[in-house]
Symmetry: C2
Subunit: 355 residues, 2 copies
């Protein structure tokens, strides 16, 4: 991979559409193994989302759209009523895969609208229309990420050391990334940037995915445990924080990977700007505030160990909320494809959709 090719097409192809299947980089295996996992129907895509083969709000949205497209292709020869009922099932299984990231529901709702729009056409034509819509969602996501990156790069001073949490990179999107998209764009504009990647327990998206993406692109990256973020800020080593989002409430509260909220609280204490980079499809105007966002609780085994080894004693209880909510008051600005929205609030969130 080199820088100039990166600026033309996504260097990391998180999702690949072959015409009759969806190929996903198996993010559970990174960085030790780079391999694709194939999905041929909606249930396989839903399982890949649930098992975190693919993760990251925009990537989940794209995957779900292709899941519907696959199911439609598989059913294209069936009678309309069966086609419709199989599609309805596919929508349900995909919607049940993960609860927090709203892009999943946003993408499914776009696919549902397309499905309704072609309800009078043949099932074969409907299937092609749904494939087309999934491809549009995918293509738009890359463009949106580049727009986010361009808008956000203006906030990154030359020489900045940027902390990020989890992975909001190419691997979390169709390409380029949201938070890492800003960092990539800043670098592409000629700025020297260095990154501090929080490892992001329990699933280690920072250690495994963000570190991997940045090493690939030769952007200097220092890995720390999540517990070290405060110390790094206290020692003056962090100039700004950029993270992605899984769902942004109507008032600007941000649900993102567990551990984001503590980083925001620490950034506020140290007067370090805290930016959230996300597409408009992550903003959920139907949810008035962060406390109403459903927080996924995942299995205990993610916390009691990692990768087949267990380090916690038998008999311990475990909590494993996969996300937390950062109140809007701690967010310096939200960066979307429409630009930079400082000090987000309800009026500004609404206005983003009106412009």
């Amino acid at each position: 991979m080199n820088v100039s090719s990166e600026s033309r097409s996504p260097a990391v192809q998180t999702l690949r559409w072959t015409g009759d299947r969806l190929e996903l980089i198996d993010q559970r295996a990174l960085p030790s193994r780079f391999q694709y996992l194939n999905c041929s129907n909606a249930a396989e895509v839903a399982k890949a989302v649930r098992d975190m083969v693919v993760r990251g709000a925009p990537a989940i949205g794209c995957a779900a759209a292709f899941g519907i497209a696959l199911e439609a292709l598989n059913c294209a020869a069936l009678p309309r009523s069966e086609f419709d009922s199989r599609l309805a099932e596919a929508f349900e299984v995909l919607a049940g895969s993960r609860p927090t990231a709203v892009n999943l529901f946003w993408a499914l709702s776009r696919m549902k609208r397309m499905s309704a729009a072609v309800a009078a056409r043949s099932t074969a034509e409907a299937a092609q229309a749904l494939v087309g819509e999934a491809q549009r969602i995918y293509g738009e996501d890359i463009e949106i990420n580049r727009a986010i990156g361009h808008a956000g790069a203006a906030l990154v001073p030359d020489g900045a050391c940027i902390m990020t949490h989890c992975n909001a990179g190419a691997l979390a999107t169709a390409g380029h990334g949201t938070a890492l998209g800003v960092i990539r764009s800043a670098r592409d504009e000629g700025k020297q940037v260095t990154v501090i990647a929080n490892e992001t327990r329990p699933f280690l998206q920072g250690a495994r995915l963000t570190a991997w993406e940045l090493v690939q692109e030769r952007i200097p990256v220092t890995l720390i445990t999540d517990s070290m973020a405060g110390h790094m800020m206290q020692r003056g080593m962090v100039d700004l924080v950029i993270v992605g989002a899984d769902r942004i409430a109507a008032n600007g509260d941000v649900a993102n990977k567990i551990g984001t909220y503590p980083v925001a609280v620490l950034a506020a204490r140290h007067r370090i700007p805290f930016y959230v980079a996300a597409p408009l499809s992550t903003i959920d105007l139907a949810v008035p505030e962060g406390s109403a966002i459903p927080i996924e609780e995942r299995g205990a085994d993610e916390v009691t160990g990692y990768g087949g080894i267990r380090w916690a004693p038998v008999g311990v209880e475990v909590a494993n909320p996969a996300f937390d909510v950062t109140p809007a008051e701690l967010v310096t600005a939200i960066i979307t494809e429409r630009g930079v929205t400082p000090a987000p609030d309800s009026a500004k969130m609404r206005a983003l959709f009106e412009s």
Copy 2:
């Protein structure tokens, strides 16, 4: 193990003195294996401290004292000059084992004073005197922990859910523990308590040691990753925080295991009391404030993986500060064997040594 025996003698014997060797629970192997590692001289004790076979500020102090005692016994038949130079070497190697916890230096300085006091006696008598002093340091530590536990228990409401970070338990001391000593004492007084244990990356003292100690004693414990502390507080699930300390500066700033500072910042935001439990030997009046406390930087391999598996990509830089500093302003009270000192400051820290 049962509660009544616990109240008489330390149920977990972190250090065992046999008369001619020091046996240490190998804390690297817990909770999957419970085994003792034997040390026969000062260099072996220093290595055990450096490798974190034994850890926790008070336990390190006790181990270092026994390290000197062992070396004195081994050299008891040598001429005085050789005895003295071997002992001087032992002091040096032990002092170099870990830099942050001050109890190590405090214990070595007590042993040095004893050594000076018996300089005119035979080397055999000197060795016996040093063994006696190490045993006194050990015995006093248990008594001190019980006094800390008793004083702190008054701060724990019945039914409280207590968050702790790292392990400041029996395993971190000669017995009973400091932070966990308070929890044990509260339970022994008949209070219902539950504990949230932060896993404490990178070395996982919370997941491995604190969870193990509490499961042994049937105190309900919920394990979380460090990144979940903010969410738990936000959801109103934490009534108070108690942690130990590795060194407390003259102004009340507290150096403790990395990740303590973020917990203190979060507790302050949520108006949750943040208590530090530590013996007077942890207070270092020679260090005016926290920023002057040396922070140990440990190896990259602790951060890039765990237990022989590596999950970070090749090429990533790593930071691994083992401790951070919580400013006194965030500490609700320090609990020592002299009682509870709310809102610690320089005058109060000095006064503790004058009473």
